[in-house]
C-alpha cells in the first residue's frame, strides 16, 4: 500500500491526482514540486526522505493553485525515469549511499508527472550536494544539530553491525547444516557395515582416534569438524531494518579474519 491508496505497482496518475484533491500542505511523507525541475532540489528531497524513519514520496509535476493541487506535469530533459535515476545516482553529486527508490512517470498536459518512492535508508546518513538533509513536515532542511547528526550515524552503525551479524549467523547455520548432513550420511554408512572409503573414511578414522573412549556420550557434539574436506558458506543479506532493533551481541567468540581485505 502507498499513501495514495493502491499498491505501488498499480499506482496511476488518477490515483495521485485523487490523493492531491484531498491533500492540504505537504506533511512528513510527501513533497510536491511543480513548475521547475532542479537537480539539486530533487537530490535534497530524496536525501531527506532516505534519512527519515519512514521514507516518503516526491511528486514532480504537481503544483498548488487556488483550486488546490494540480498534477499538470512538468517538462523533463529527456525520459523522466532515466533522467531522475541519473540525477539521484550521479556518482559525484548524487545521493550517497544510494537509497532504495523507485519511480513512476505518466504523460500529462505540461510534460510528465513523476512520483519517486524513497525508502528509509538502512545505513544513514545519506548525503547529497555535500550536505546531510532530514525530512521535517513541509520542508527538508540541512541537519545542523550535531546531536541529530550523531544520531543518524549511530543508527547507520547499528544497522551495519546488525546486518553483519545476521549475515555471519546465516552463513554459520548453513555451514553447520552441510557438516551435519555429511555426518549423518557417514553414520548411516557405518551402521550399515560398509567400510568407509576415500576422504570420508579417513575423516572418520581420524575422528575415532581423536575421541578418547572415556569421554561422555554426548562428547561427539563438540568434536571438531574434519580437516579433510573443504566447506564454504556464502551469505548475503539485504539489510531490511533501519536499526529498529537493539544491537546484536555475538553469542560466541568473534571469528578471526585472515588476510588483508584488499
Amino acid at each position: 500500500m502507498t499513501i495514495f491508496g493502491p499498491g505501488w505497482a498499480d499506482l496511476t496518475l488518477q490515483d495521485v491526482q485523487s490523493y492531491l484533491n484531498d491533500a492540504e500542505d505537504e506533511p512528513l511523507l510527501w513533497e510536491a514540486k511543480g513548475t521547475r525541475l532542479d537537480k539539486n532540489e530533487v537530490r535534497t528531497q530524496v536525501c531527506g526522505f532516505a534519512n527519515s524513519h519512514e521514507g516518503g514520496y516526491l511528486i514532480l509535476g504537481a503544483d498548488k493553485t487556488d483550486d488546490g493541487w494540480k498534477a499538470n506535469g512538468v517538462a523533463f530533459d529527456g525520459e523522466p525515469i532515466t533522467w531522475l535515476s541519473d540525477v539521484i545516482g550521479d556518482p559525484e553529486r548524487g545521493v550517497r549511499p544510494r537509497p532504495d527508490f523507485d519511480i513512476h512517470a505518466w504523460p500529462a498536459d505540461n510534460g510528465h508527472v513523476a512520483v519517486i518512492r524513497v525508502r528509509s535508508t538502512s545505513t544513514p546518513p545519506c548525503i547529497a550536494n555535500g550536505t546531510v538533509y532530514e525530512r521535517l513536515p513541509g520542508k527538508t532542511p540541512p541537519v545542523r544539530d550535531p546531536v541529530r547528526l550523531a544520531s543518524l550515524f549511530g543508527r547507520g552503525d547499528e544497522a551495519r553491525k546488525l546486518a553483519e551479524a545476521i549475515a555471519y549467523r546465516a552463513a554459520k547455520l548453513a555451514l553447520d547444516a552441510v557438516t551435519k548432513d555429511e555426518d549423518t550420511q557417514e553414520e548411516e554408512r557405518e551402521e550399515g557395515g560398509r567400510a568407509p572409503s576415500g576422504p570420508s573414511g579417513s575423516r572418520w578414522a581420524w575422528r575415532r582416534q581423536a575421541t578418547p573412549p572415556t569421554l561422555p556420550a554426548d562428547c561427539s557434539k563438540t568434536t571438531s569438524p574434519p580437516r579433510t574436506g573443504n566447506t564454504s558458506a556464502t551469505c548475503q543479506t539485504g539489510c531490511r531494518t533501519a536499526g529498529a532493533r537493539g544491537p546484536v551481541r555475538s553469542s560466541g567468540p568473534r571469528p578471526r579474519s585472515y588476510g588483508d581485505a584488499s
Partner: protein, 108 residues
C-alpha cells in the same frame, strides 16, 4: 544447502571433497561466485532491499603453511554493497582466501 530466513538473509553452503578443491585463483569463481549469485537471487526474490552484506565462511582442509585448530573458521566479509555479484569483490575474496592459507596473491 540453501537457507533463507525472515531477517532478509540467504545463505548457500556446500561441502567439497578434498580432491576436488583446488585452491587457486579460480576457486572463488567456480565455488563462491555461484553460491553468492544464488544467495543474491534469493534475497532479491524475497524483496530484500537496502545495503547488502556478504560473509564467506570457510573451514576444513589441510594447509601446511597455516596449521591451526581443526574447527577454525575463516571469515571474510564485504559490505555494504549494492545488489548483485561484484566481480572485483569476488576476486578480492579469492586473494584474501589464498593469503589466509599461506599462498601469495598479488594485486591486479
Amino acid at each position: 544447502v540453501l537457507r533463507a530466513s525472515w531477517d532478509g538473509a540467504a545463505a548457500v553452503a556446500q561441502r567439497i571433497a578434498k580432491d576436488d578443491a583446488y585452491l587457486d585463483d579460480a576457486f572463488v569463481n567456480s565455488r563462491v561466485g555461484p553460491a553468492w549469485r544464488l544467495a543474491d537471487e534469493v534475497v532479491q526474490r524475497l524483496k530484500g532491499f537496502g545495503d547488502f552484506y556478504v560473509t564467506v565462511l570457510f573451514t576444513g582442509g589441510n594447509f601446511p603453511r597455516r596449521p591451526g585448530p581443526a574447527d577454525e573458521i575463516l571469515a571474510m566479509r564485504r559490505g555494504p554493497l549494492l545488489a548483485g555479484v561484484d566481480d572485483d569483490h569476488l576476486a578480492s575474496l579469492g586473494r584474501e582466501l589464498l593469503r589466509s592459507l599461506g599462498t601469495g596473491a598479488s594485486e591486479p
